[in-house]
Amino acid sequence: MSIKLKALTKSIWVFHAACSPCNNCDIEILDLLTPRYDIERLGIVLVGSVRHADALLVTGVPNYKTKERLKKIYDQAAKPCVVVAIGGCACGRIMFRDSYNSPCAVDEIVPVDVYIPGCPPKPEAMIAGIAKLIKKVRGEK
């Protein structure tokens, strides 16, 4: 367990990478910043560049236009970087897996550490997912 990974559990900076989502998961992610959930009090901050990010939040179904972008974003991120797949689309493509414009699922492009299913997952589910991630990274049960 690297020192950096342990350190990041105190304050996680997240970068949001959208593939081709319907935006619901993205709005619910932004909702986390609003007063009702207020994840900034947990030290979680949304950043504008993946180079500053500790965690990558991925939403949506990868299509041919966004598949390369997602790979590039992941490559640009300073490692270690955890990847969180948010929403049914990012977890397994759900009803879009037969689409002609969807080549593969998110975890075939980048390694995913946390899956938070739901359509969209409620903000409480996302916080629970991140809490599980932090516990796992710290080695707690």
Partner: protein, 144 residues
């Protein structure tokens, strides 16, 4: 005069078929070569709003429907035509008439393979540039 009456008067014999599904949903048929003139009359003279065009693959050919809206009466007039040559479907572009048509025709070109003659920029809109040629997702013979 009602919009139905005005359309019938202005288009005259260009109309080859007429179907009033309801008072608000009217479909009429024209020959493919008349589309530019008909679209011009509906948009410029009768001031209808152009919503979208639908292309569909049918056994008889590629059917195109151009949907125009007459908002004062809440009516949708769909101009229908059939492009019989499915191997090389072509039709005049109406992009010079109104700006919105440019994207709509690009989409139909890449998903159905219809060539829009006179279109300023027939390139991929939704699909990647490297999409295999000849593979049209909305054609029913297409294997996904």
């Amino acid at each position: 005069m009602s919009m139905v009456g005005e359309i019938k008067e202005k288009l005259g014999s260009k109309i080859t078929g007429w179907n009033e599904h309801s008072s608000k949903r009217i479909y009429f048929w024209i020959k493919p070569q008349d589309i530019k003139e008909v679209a011009g009359i509906l948009f410029n003279e009768l001031k209808l709003r152009f919503s979208i065009a639908t292309g569909q693959d049918t056994p008889k050919g590629i059917e195109m429907l151009y949907h125009f809206c007459y908002d004062k009466a809440g009516q949708v007039f769909s101009v229908c035509l059939l492009i019989e040559d499915k191997k090389n479907p072509r039709i005049d572009s109406i992009a010079s008439l109104f700006k919105g048509a440019e994207w709509i025709e690009r989409e139909i070109w890449e998903l159905l393979g219809v060539d829009f003659v006179g279109h300023p920029n027939l390139t991929h809109l939704l699909l990647i540039d490297e999409w295999p040629q000849g593979k049209y997702p909305l054609r029913h013979s297409h294997e996904s």
